[in-house]
């Protein structure tokens, strides 16, 4: 018998598997579950975008693309950042097309982080940053964003976490799982600290098109003095409902992008060709689709936030992504207990806040990437669940 542990890289072995696996196992095995747990758009990719992918296949475009991505796509990406966020990037030197935003995040860590470098990662956050940071040799330093700050990152908290070893800040806004955004004023305060301590920023802007209440996404790269310190990560998954196409990109200073491109060239060669043809169409003619989906998410968002507040699970108004993050402390249950009982008793799946960092305790992530009809049914069941809980004992707690 081979002892595989002798062969396995010790860093990867020590990465903790998701602590809430047990919960997901229950969710997966149960039938008739009404889920509010999915983290991708429920919309299908708009037809004209799919059609361009199909057409490229019909024309026999089945080869690798250039390492960086097709020139037309690079140009459309930079046009888009100019048009939407007034940021100018050079398509041939500052832009790289990747396999989802996910690959771009991985490349950025591996390109910028050295053994022992500290990377500040606010939580609750998407699950990939800590493990990818560790695999790059970095040390994740997690700081907690708080409900009372609407889960925005505060300059003072950032300042307090900085040590001489700090090299980079991950800025995951609009945020999965909280739905928090950062407005210009918030970013200016963060930028001040970042510049003073000479840090780099990895800005994950994958949800940039999903902001509500008239707030347009602001990229930290557009704050004075931050352009040269920021690697922007973005992609097509959320904005254009293209998760399965696996396409994203990175924008940033040429010396960084060129090293990331080198790594991408050896590890991946090039992002999927068919997806790139579809993405060109998305950027050229997809604005109306983006607006249609955003309006629809917005309506759902209002309904869900209103319902949770009405049920007594207080919930700050999330202005981004497609999640709400209600506080469940008033039930006296832990996040995991809440989710387990909700699925066992009412067959509704939501995700414990602890899946996104320990500080998610006391909260659950509810995705509203579902039809209104689906949401209505699920919300009614959650209301029943709470009614029955209250009938039992009631604990005091406040968020």
């Amino acid at each position: 018998m081979i002892d595989y542990n002798r062969y396995l890289n010790s860093s990867i072995r020590s990465l903790s598997p998701s602590g809430i696996r047990k919960f997901f196992d229950i969710a997966n095995e149960m039938e008739n579950v009404i889920s509010l747990s999915i983290g991708e758009p429920d919309f299908q990719t708009p037809w004209h975008i799919r059609d361009e992918g199909i057409r490229s296949l019909e024309k026999g475009k089945t080869w690798y693309s250039p390492n960086r991505g097709f020139a037309d796509l690079l140009k459309e990406i930079t046009n888009y950042y100019e048009r939407r966020f007034s940021l100018t990037y050079n398509p041939s030197e500052q832009t790289l097309v990747t396999v989802g935003g996910s690959e771009a995040i991985d490349l950025a860590f591996r390109t910028l982080v050295e053994e022992g470098d500290e990377v500040i990662i606010p939580q609750p956050a998407f699950v990939c940053y800590n493990p990818l940071c560790v695999m790059a040799g970095g040390v994740p330093v997690n700081i907690n964003t708080k409900n009372e700050d609407k889960f925005r990152l505060k300059a003072a908290d950032l300042e307090a976490a900085i040590t001489p070893k700090t090299k980079m800040l991950v800025l995951p806004f609009p945020n999965n799982p909280t739905g928090a955004i950062m407005e210009r004023r918030d970013l200016e305060e963060i930028a001040e600290v970042v510049k003073r301590h000479d840090l780099m920023v990895l800005s994950d802007e994958i949800y940039c098109e999903l902001t509500y209440g008239g707030r347009n996404h602001v990229s930290i790269a557009s704050i004075d003095g931050m352009y040269e310190r920021t690697v922007v990560i973005n992609g097509f998954s959320k904005s254009y409902a293209m998760t399965g196409w696996r396409l994203g990109y990175a924008l940033g200073p040429a010396p960084i992008i060129s090293q990331m491109t080198k790594l991408h060239q050896y590890g991946i060669m090039s992002a999927p060709t068919t997806a790139q043809y579809a993405a060109i169409e998305a950027l050229k003619n997809g604005d109306r689709d983006v607006k249609r989906m955003r309006d629809e998410y917005d309506m759902r968002r209002r309904l869900v936030v209103d319902s949770f507040n009405d049920m007594g699970l207080t919930c700050f108004e999330p202005l981004g992504a497609f999640y709400v993050f209600p506080c469940i402390q008033s039930t006296g249950l832990s996040s995991e207990e809440f989710c387990t009982r909700l699925i066992m008793e009412k067959h509704v799946a939501v995700v414990p806040g602890t899946a996104f960092g320990d500080c998610g305790e006391g909260f659950v992530r509810v995705s509203y990437s579902y039809s209104l009809k689906h949401l209505q049914v699920a919300l009614a069941r959650i209301r029943e669940f709470l009614g029955e809980l209250n009938h039992g004992s009631q604990a005091e707690g406040a968020c």
Binding site: A27, I38, G39, M299, R302, A355
Partner: protein, 159 residues
Amino acid sequence: MDKLLNLLCTNSQFSVAELSAMLGEPEDYIKAQIKEYEAKGIIKGYQAVVNWEDVEDSYVEALIELKVTPKKETGFDEMAQMCMAFDEVESVYLMAGVYDFALIVRGETMQDIAMFVAKKLSTIDGVLSTGTHFIMRRYKDRGMNLTDTDSKDERSLIL
């Protein structure tokens, strides 16, 4: 497009509270707006979308094409009024194209509809010709999927 009307078109049973939440407008405003639409005849009524195929088998619908000679004074309107008057007629549309009117006609049997067309419609003064197309099956109606193939959620990743 009016968001309130759009929402009511997808589901007229949303509560005022739900509509108010979704649209970010006060409940009183929503109530008043609906009243106004009703008073002005912009909202004509509220109906259920029924999948009749699952209820009774003696139910037939047909689309009837009509070619007519418009009346001198009243154009197509008078002809439309005459068609509308029949209980059998569900819908009357004036069309651009090779024929003038499309009617949706309802009956218990094909025979019913055939007789209706032969005896009542084609005998109207000014009707030049009719074409009857029986509806075999309704897959989607007013935006709703009437089949039981409600698409399954194939998304599998949670985080």
